[in-house]
């Protein structure tokens, strides 16, 4: 007689798997941390998603050195409307931060801290890692690493789309 494992792992038994949704839609917030990443994220935002929303914090990256920068309005949606970080994080299941190697990713600390407070998972994506110098990449990594539960250094921007699809974003 076949063991239970042998019987149940067969291709024939796969037909009887329950075909009903097994998860609620995931609320994924994708935030570009700099201008080059913003262009990538804007293009992504035009595709069809299961509720993923897209933002930019590039104003923060382009801010002058400490002192003269206003904390108001640094996070916005792609239409330019100012968004409140805490509100956005509060309603997220996952926050994806997109940075470009060599650009200023200091917004990662603010976003990461908010996610940490709210116990929201963060993923960091660094684009252009393959062509960046070690020093350049290290600088961006050092800004992203403390705030990313998962950090991916991708050579091509098309990875982000595949990743978001894989995560059902």
């Amino acid at each position: 007689m076949l063991s239970e494992s042998a019987r149940m792992a067969s291709a024939a038994e796969a037909r009887f798997r329950i075909d009903a949704p097994n998860a609620k839609p995931k609320r994924v917030k994708v935030i570009a941390l700099d201008r080059p990443s913003e262009a990538v994220v804007k293009e992504l935002a035009h595709k069809a998603w299961n509720g993923a929303t897209f933002f930019t914090a590039s104003a923060f990256a382009g801010a002058p050195p400490a002192g003269s920068f206003s904390m108001q309005g640094w996070l916005s949606d792609l239409a330019g409307r100012t968004k409140d970080l805490i509100d956005e994080v509060d309603s997220a299941d996952l926050v994806v931060m997109v940075a470009t190697a060599g650009e200023n990713a200091q917004a990662a600390a603010l976003i990461g801290e908010a996610c940490s407070l709210k116990r929201i998972t963060t993923t960091g994506l660094i684009l252009g890692g393959a062509s960046a110098s070690d020093e350049t990449l290290s600088k961006t990594l050092s800004q992203m690493r403390p705030w990313s539960l998962m950090l991916v250094i991708a050579s091509a921007a098309d990875y982000i789309e595949d990743m978001l699809i894989a995560l059902r974003a």
Partner: protein, 428 residues
């Protein structure tokens, strides 16, 4: 999550499939050299990439990998007589050499030249590092011989085994790059398995059960780094190598041997899990080899006379619920290899990836699929040679290192991630 057509593309590797063409770009481990121990030894049936083949070593020591069935009436040549520089079908005496060329048809006059018109499909088969490697692709694009470090060290520094896994290759391979399951499924084995215990790195593992992951593309595939906190503003990094399409190498522990796997499709519902252990600069000890033969580390014990694990789905993997309850094993299955295989086989022959819910820590798997899909497309559309074919991509090592927190592992451990003859592995 993968769309159904993407899942089909990556899991189907038979002749004529895009995924099959990808696998046919590489030298693949086909048999252990010990399966053909001497000239004129019995032939061995081999099924690879959904093709039924037969391997034999002729009277001159030449290796052959040919269509399993006689061109005359379709008899399996496994019953053949391996003698006098060829394999003779026992039914009517047709004889084939290692290239599949028919060299004798006793019922036909020799001068008729009939046998010259009969040739079975055959593939190159070469011996390297205790493994017989097959190349099943276009002869025009046959790559250089494999240069994996384990295959180039002296025999005494290496141990290789293989086992049948009753699932598609991809779900087996994905287990090899899924670092986050180790803290659950394999907990307990670090301190008890003779091939792991005693390493300082184990303490970092036990002290920090919430590793943080970094995935970085390499020339041949991926580096998957798992970092844990270490002393004085340092991180303990375990860096796994994945080289396309089906090679994974796990970070070493202390002065133990380095180990890894190949996951090679037999057909779409079964694969060979190859497991190797080696040390780049020293012989393996008798005790280490005895432990590996006894199924410790990443190896298994077998059903006698086969490469089927002793714990298999027909005996419910010898699951021990008392050991599970007592915390001796997490799933009730003993041994790292079968802990993995039992769960991967339970998914069914080909897991339905349209229904999965991946999370952030699955980015190693997501990136591997992304690279596989991209490479298949580039191969089919443009004829681009996929990553991992170039022997330079194969000269890699996994590594376990302690680094300052501000350093990128791919740069700080650059040398440690390369195979360097005579240099000890980077291990903690």
């Amino acid at each position: 999550m993968l769309r159904r057509e993407q899942n089909d593309l990556l899991t189907q590797t038979g002749p004529g499939t895009p995924g099959g063409r990808l696998f046919r770009s590489y030298w693949l481990p086909a048999l252990l050299a010990e399966e053909l121990p001497g000239n004129d030894c019995p032939p061995v049936r081999v099924k690879l990439l959904s093709e039924r083949l037969l391997a034999f070593r002729d009277s001159e020591g030449r290796l052959g990998l040919i269509d399993e069935f006689c061109a005359h009436r379709g008899v399996s040549l496994w019953f053949g007589r391996n003698e006098e520089a060829g394999l003779r079908c026992p039914y009517h005496g047709w004889k084939y050499d290692v290239t599949g060329q028919c060299i004798d048809v006793p019922s036909e006059p020799e001068e008729s030249g009939f046998c010259k018109r009969i040739k079975l499909k055959s593939y190159p088969l070469v011996e390297r590092g205790g493994v017989l490697w097959a190349y099943m692709g276009d002869p025009e694009t046959q790559p250089p011989l494999p240069e994996w470090e384990f295959a180039t060290v002296p025999d005494r520094q290496r141990f290789v085994s293989k086992r049948v896994q009753e699932s598609n290759w991809l779900q087996a391979m994905e287990g090899g790059i899924d670092s986050s399951h180790v803290s659950f499924l394999h907990r307990g084995d670090l301190n008890s398995d003779p091939l792991f215990r005693g390493a300082k790195g184990n303490q970092y593992n036990m002290a920090d059960s919430r590793p943080v992951f970094e995935v970085v593309e390499s020339a041949g595939g991926l580096y998957i780094g798992a970092r844990r906190n270490a002393e004085n503003d340092h991180y303990y990094w375990r860096i796994t190598q994945w080289v396309m399409p089906a090679f994974t190498m796990i970070a070493p522990r202390g002065n133990h041997s380095v180990h890894g796997h190949f996951w090679i499709p037999i057909d779409d519902h079964n694969c060979w899990t190859w497991s190797f252990d080696y040390h780049p600069i020293r012989n393996l000890t008798d005790a280490e080899i005895a432990a590996m033969k006894d199924g410790k580390g990443i190896h298994v014990r077998y059903v006698p006379g086969s490469f089927r694990p002793l714990a298999n789905k027909d005996n419910d993997y010898l699951v021990d619920r008392a050991a599970q309850k007592a915390g001796k094993t997490y799933s009730g299955v003993e041994g790292i290899a079968m802990q993995d295989a039992s769960l991967q086989e339970s998914m069914g022959p080909i897991v339905d990836r349209t229904r999965e819910n991946l999370v952030s820590t699955d980015n190693g798997i997501i990136m591997a699929r992304h690279r596989l899909l991209r490479s298949v497309k580039a191969l089919i559309d443009k004829g681009e040679v996929p990553p991992g074919v170039d022997p330079a991509h194969q000269k890699v090592r996994s590594a376990a290192v302690v680094l300052p927190r501000d350093q990128a592992f791919k740069d700080a451990a650059k040398d440690a991630l390369l195979a360097r003859p005579g240099v000890a592995p980077a291990s903690v």
